[in-house]
Symmetry: D2
Subunit: 428 residues, 4 copies
């Protein structure tokens, strides 16, 4: 494979080409193929971007058909037939059946753009600067979103400039099982000298993806919603990674029965890997002045075409939901088994997740890297997350075939065995 130009010209910031140092040429469903023709099962799937698989034929057809008619590809935020199609699909098949009444903002096409727009609107509406976010939260790396993202890797080495306008509160479970972290949050809110400036909004992931597949309890989420209501704080669910069916519902917060004031989606929203995001907001919060937030690629029409097609294809009935729950169960059981295997081998591990957003916490990035490294050797692409990269994270396409799923899990099991064996050998 010719990689010299790539190595020479691409910034050192590159990362996945270090873990998977091959050139990929083809992608279909849950499989990637490299230039040498080798196939890999893809449990990474664009870090949650390819819930419907690579080059999903339904979505590709919709896009190619649209292109064939010279449909508008780029029109800033003009009205197009593509936009109308997207809005109608979203309204009819997603919002109405869930009794959700939201208006839609199309900010720049990435998750961080959506987060920036949401927190800026929250600040405007409440006329307060502070945003409460949670330990291990990840909401993007542009400066406004970064203030709500916990990772030092992104926050440091910035000439010292501090991230402003956000306060961190411990996520569910952060202080151990004995402590409900919302007790602390509620105390801070009621404390006039606790140092917490009354926030405009709370931003939360129901399952923290980058943070290490940390799953918040449904009661915890309900109470968080109540606290927000009691203190006149907006609740923003950042559903960029956990949304679009990943946890078994279109919106991950449906499990808890809560209704956020705003929702951010991106990643799998277009369904085809096209850059796209939206912010949903309760209508009374839509206090934007025309043009008060902009961006060249807001409302990318091709993405709206595939997004509408994805909604129609997968969210007209509950087939996908049920399938995600079924496959999630399969992954859960295998992961529990692998965790037990690791624990027995002296490498304490545990499984966690919701739906098809699942991970094995192996406690150190070192062990996790060994497992995922082995997996790649065996033809499985899977990444780690968590503050030390200590969680082996599965985000395979929701539409993965049972065969590919099994094969991927088998490779992972083989990799775990290789690592525990090696470890056993090493400590012998």
């Amino acid at each position: 494979m010719q990689t010299q130009t790539l190595e020479r010209m691409e910034s050192n910031v590159r990362t996945y080409s270090r873990s998977f140092p091959v050139v990929f040429t083809k992608a279909q469903g849950a499989r990637l193929t490299d230039e040498n023709g080798r196939e890999y099962i893809d449990f990474l799937a664009g870090a949650g971007t390819l819930n419907y698989g690579h080059n999903n034929p339904h979505l590709k057809k919709a896009m190619v058909d649209y292109l064939a008619t010279d449909g508008v590809v780029h029109g800033l935020d003009m009205w197009t037939s593509a936009k109308r199609e997207y809005f109608e699909a979203l309204e009819q098949l997603i919002l109405k059946p869930r009794n959700l009444d939201y208006k839609i903002q199309l900010p720049g096409p990435t998750g961080t753009n959506a987060v920036e727009a949401a927190i800026r609107l929250a600040r405007k509406v409440k006329n307060r600067h502070n945003i409460v976010t949670f330990t291990n939260g990840f909401h993007g790396v542009t400066m406004g979103a970064l203030a709500t993202t916990g990772n030092r890797k992104f926050r440091e080495n910035t000439g010292g400039i501090p991230m402003t306008g956000a306060s961190f509160v411990p996520y569910d479970g952060y202080m151990g099982e004995a402590t409900n972290t919302l007790d602390y949050f509620e105390k801070l809110l009621g404390d006039k000298s606790g140092g917490l400036d009354l926030p405009a909004a709370v931003i939360v992931e129901t399952v923290q993806g980058e943070g290490g597949i940390n799953v918040s309890g449904l009661e915890w989420l309900k109470r968080l919603e109540s606290i927000c209501h009691a203190h006149d704080i907006l609740l923003i669910v950042d559903d960029i990674q956990a949304g679009c069916g990943r946890t078994g519902k279109f919106f991950s917060f449906e499990h808890a029965g809560i209704v956020p004031d705003m929702v951010t989606n991106s990643k799998s929203l277009s369904g085809f890997g096209l850059p796209f995001s939206h912010v949903l907001m309760r209508p009374e919060l839509d206090q934007w002045q025309p043009g008060q937030y902009n961006g060249t690629f807001r409302g990318f029409n091709l993405a709206m075409i595939t997004a509408a097609a994805a909604i129609k294809q997968y969210w007209s009935d509950d087939a996908l939901e049920k399938d995600v729950q079924r496959k999630g169960k399969i992954i859960e059981e295998r992961f529990q088994k692998l965790a037990a295997m690791l624990t027995e081998a002296g490498m304490p591990a545990s499984e966690r997740g919701r739906g098809m957003m699942r991970g094995i916490d192996v406690q150190t990035g070192d062990v996790a890297d060994k497992i995922t490294g082995k997996a790649f050797e065996h033809g499985l692409i899977i990444e780690t997350s968590g503050h030390d990269g200590e969680v082996v994270k599965c985000l395979c396409p929701l539409t993965i075939s049972d065969e590919d799923l099994q094969q991927g899990l088998d490779i992972l099991e083989a990799s775990v065995k290789a690592v525990t064996g090696k470890q056993a050998a090493a400590t012998a």
Copy 2:
């Protein structure tokens, strides 16, 4: 046209659908078609995103061919054949012929992502927080970029939170012809109590697009480069709107013969209206640690396919450059004529621009809106820019046919006549 769903569901932040309240269904070259089949000449062209026209057939073919092979659409920042193709085209046809030695970072796919990445890297490299930017500069609306953007519309109503880490300096010409604004900048740099924290970088547009087609002098740019070198400050040219041939050269800074330390491109970089951006940096500045800046849609493969195709199609020789200069001249002359017409009618106006980035400053947003409103009635889509929207701005495709260009200019002239006539009548 069915617009109820669009009106009901889209946030009030929408803007172009207010100026152009129709639903567009088709776009080809320099023409847009609405749902009723009416055609419009497009002098807006994605605000600089469609330099090669809507649905450029060369680029569309490249993209459709790639899709047909199930090429990788989304792969985070993995290596793909698409990325390699893009890097090779950029290196061989753009960088090498211009004696430029840059490494490439693919941040999130929008301009603001590129700006955030560039200024963050500058801060890291120089270990200083401050970024110098210019009056009327526009570099994006995420919080880091927004600090370098002058518009109050975006900076206010944010709960009071101040934009931090940037200092404004007057752009070329801001203080009138008698004053070289770099005298002031240089004085501030040398003044230990002038209040200007030594910046990590200066970020500048060679022609300010959103700011009102403000054109910096070539000597001014050269001196700016010298000042940066003398004070150990990085020079970032934000070429998001003025780049990709708009001014008659691929990079707008080529006219001045300067070599920026970093360059940001986006908008027309993909050539097809696909979200895409890159940061170019001198190799020694590439001090990123792996993964220190990320984003789900960094390195959008479809965009790299069209970007490579655009480079090959339009930058293998100097035909486009020459054509841009020729057409730019045509626009310039017509705009001068229109400006004279307006001035004679008691509405003082002047023409300015470089290459095919041109505007007529009519001094008030009110007059400009009347002209562009009239133009839309007559079938021309054209927008305004400047701090008060006082500049009628032409960003038509570089590849526009002479017929479409003439027709668009004719419509604009008719619109100006209508406005001056109306004005004459009103003042009679």
Copy 3:
């Protein structure tokens, strides 16, 4: 009493003249006298500024003698005999006997100046922006210190501008007895995505005065010191209110046997109510460049004269220490009794404190205000603290006579009885 001019001309920000709306003309020891000749026992004593009583004759004599020789009153930070005298007294009688090796910085003469200087130096030395502070901490209201102060009253209504560069962590006991808040702090420090930027320093009060006489445990303080050492974080003890003997030792941290990297003192440092402060720092931290921090009133000579006299008078032996412990015990017992009385009357209350820094937490500002209001009627000046003003706080002079102390406590008891009676009546 003539108060019209005062009322008309003084800003609404005035506060104590609302609680005690009389004009004071004379002050001696623990007694204040108003213009009508009425005497009051003073349990407020300058909020910790008058540990040696009003117009302490030893200190007054030293000051008047110095003035009689035309000693230098104001000399910026020039060397004077007064400064030398202060340094010698501090070194010989305070630092050496405690095995403390500190250098002295004389910033502006108030507590907030000292805090600003200390945290700025910490940032410089560690080249990090973040300062960890604690819930209910109070460190001053200038913008740098205010970032470390929890009170919303001061942090809000500032045009939205956020306080930057500080992170709050729960103080000892904040999360209930079951939770050691340092577990949380330590977890955050070790968590690369917990959202806590590695701090340059921790700033802590061993007993929070304004925060409500919250007393940190001695083991908690020791562990805090260990955590700071382990993570290369400076430990700053803000001893502005708790220092100068208030808790029974000259420095309040002596009880815990810790050695802070920096110490801030002010309030009772001059002993005579003169504005004065210093920052003590381990010699290797003295990385200031000459003149890098300044202020017109740094090193106020009269204050150094009285400060030296106070040290010589009260810290040459352990008589005062012992007396503070003895009187502290007296106050403690009476406060426990009062707390029990209140609790029995259906107004749950508890006593807390260390040395002669003591309070009764009556849970609501309303009850506390009734008690202190009654006390003033009866001739006792005493204030409240805590986030809701719910703690009746005693800071009487350390040198108060036993008679005055008893009389003050008697008045307080009468006031409590009046309030509980009224309350009983009200609920009957």
Copy 4:
């Protein structure tokens, strides 16, 4: 002289003891005496703090008398007879005769406290975060005030943390004689994308002391006031160094006939070198809530006693004003002569100032240091200011005797001669 303890124990931040490395023991009028009995003429005078000379007998008597009656020295912000006396003197002898209607806030006793209070109130009243300040302005070094202070020495080495909430605009004359810097300011205010957030207030020194005796024109000040009125911006005159008679009027802004919305005073306000400051504000701006700004040493009673005495002694008639003008003229003429002497010797220099706030700009800190170093050898204490320390600055007591003034000027002349002679020799 014994300096070991001083050298060993005092932080490296010390500065004046480097220029004047002796121990001062006595001070009277315009003379300081060191431990060896050597006398010095004092043209520094506490950097503007000792307008009435060291140990002014009138003020000392008032203070000693007050102490003799056990007057309240420290009472937080309680009402005292001292405060009433100060308010009455200020109202009757200063405000009323000048037709000024202000309320008084007593913040912490230093200049930076007053500036912090004033800008915080401005932000609250206008609900905007931005404060406009001027190049070379100095308003204190606590973080809020520091944002408005230009000196890099104070702004850098703070762990990278940027000063937020202030924007710098060029002071009168900063851009040369041809440019009125208010043209630029006015343009920025009217420019919706100029990058200047609409400020809550402008803070300005009519003569910049630390900045290098930069004197703003009276027309410039009037226009600044007009601009503020037109844009609903508060005008704060920081009269900390230039006030209290230094320029020939009690308030330096009286020359221009303007009425600031707020005024800050400190330095010579107590008249005796005691820490003291106030903020004056138009009554309708007094929107503080009780206790919303505090500080232990607000309203230092001894200072109010001397401040009232100073007002009565020196501002009951116009004798001091006239004397300041007379002596200012003497200094001006001698400084012009010295500047000419330097210029002739190849060291270009110029004189500037207003009243008795005067300097010689010798263009480099090196030359200025040589002159002031020589002066100290000859028995004159005088300092430099300006961004490079290039201005020899005279701030001798307003009450200096003609003999001392002449002697000081003679020493300065001898020093200049020594330096020009040395220079001549060196270049020969």
